[in-house]
C-alpha cells in the first residue's frame, strides 16, 4: 500500500491530467517560504527540511487533499513547532485571535 504522497506509477491515477501550468507565487506563499527559511537556517536549525517533509506526510488525508502546497507547509510548520515545544497550541490561538481583532479594528 502506498502512502498518500507516494504516487509514482499508481494504477488508479494513470491517465489523469497533470497541471503543468506555472503558478504565480502569492504573498502568502512567499511568507511561508520565508518562515521556513528562517526556521531551517543553520544558525537556528529549529526545523530541518527532512522534518518538514515528514510532517507534511503525517497530515490527515483530508488535510492533504484540501490544502494547497504552501498551506501544507504552514500546517506542517505549525505541527512541528508544537511537537518541539517551541510554541503551544493555545499560544498560537491567542495570537491569531489578537491579530484578527486588530485587523477588524483597522477595517
Amino acid at each position: 500500500m502506498r502512502a498518500m504522497h507516494d504516487l509514482g506509477g499508481v494504477e488508479a491515477l494513470l491517465g489523469e491530467k497533470i497541471d503543468r501550468s506555472e503558478h504565480e507565487l502569492t504573498h502568502f506563499d512567499r511568507s511561508v517560504d520565508a518562515l521556513m527559511y528562517l526556521l531551517s537556517h543553520p544558525s537556528r536549525r529549529i526545523i530541518r527540511v527532512d522534518e518538514l517533509r515528514r510532517a507534511i506526510e503525517s497530515l490527515t488525508p483530508e488535510q492533504y487533499e484540501d490544502l494547497n502546497y504552501y498551506e501544507k507547509w504552514l500546517q506542517a510548520i505549525h505541527d512541528l513547532l508544537i511537537e518541539k515545544d517551541v510554541l503551544d497550541a493555545e499560544e498560537i490561538m491567542l495570537k491569531v485571535a489578537e491579530i484578527r481583532a486588530d485587523a477588524a479594528g483597522a477595517a
Binding site: A3, R48, D50, S58
Partner: protein, 105 residues
Amino acid sequence: MTARFRPGERVRVRADWPEVGGVRVHLRTPGYLRGRVGAVERAHGDYANPEKLAFGKPGFPKRTLYMVRFDQRDLWPRGEAPDGTLVADIFDHWLEPATTEQTHD
C-alpha cells in the same frame, strides 16, 4: 564508509514497506522502485540518514547515497518510453546485490 557497490553493479531495491502498519516513517525510496533491479551509476558520497533526520535525530550512521539507473520497461507496464531509463538516488540500506534467480516482489 566505503561504497559497497561499484559503478555498473546490478542492485535490487529492497521490497520493504515500512510505512504499512501504522509506524511513523519518512522514506526517500519511492514505492515504484521497491523490488526493482537497476545498475549503479555512481556513488554520490555518504550523507546523514534523512529517515532519522526527519524525526529530529542526528542521522548517524551516515549512509552512502547511490545514483541508480533503471530501465523504464521494468518500471511501467504500460509506459510510453519503454526504451528509456530512469535514474534515482537510493541510499545504501535500501539496496542489495541483484542475483539472477530473484524475481520481482
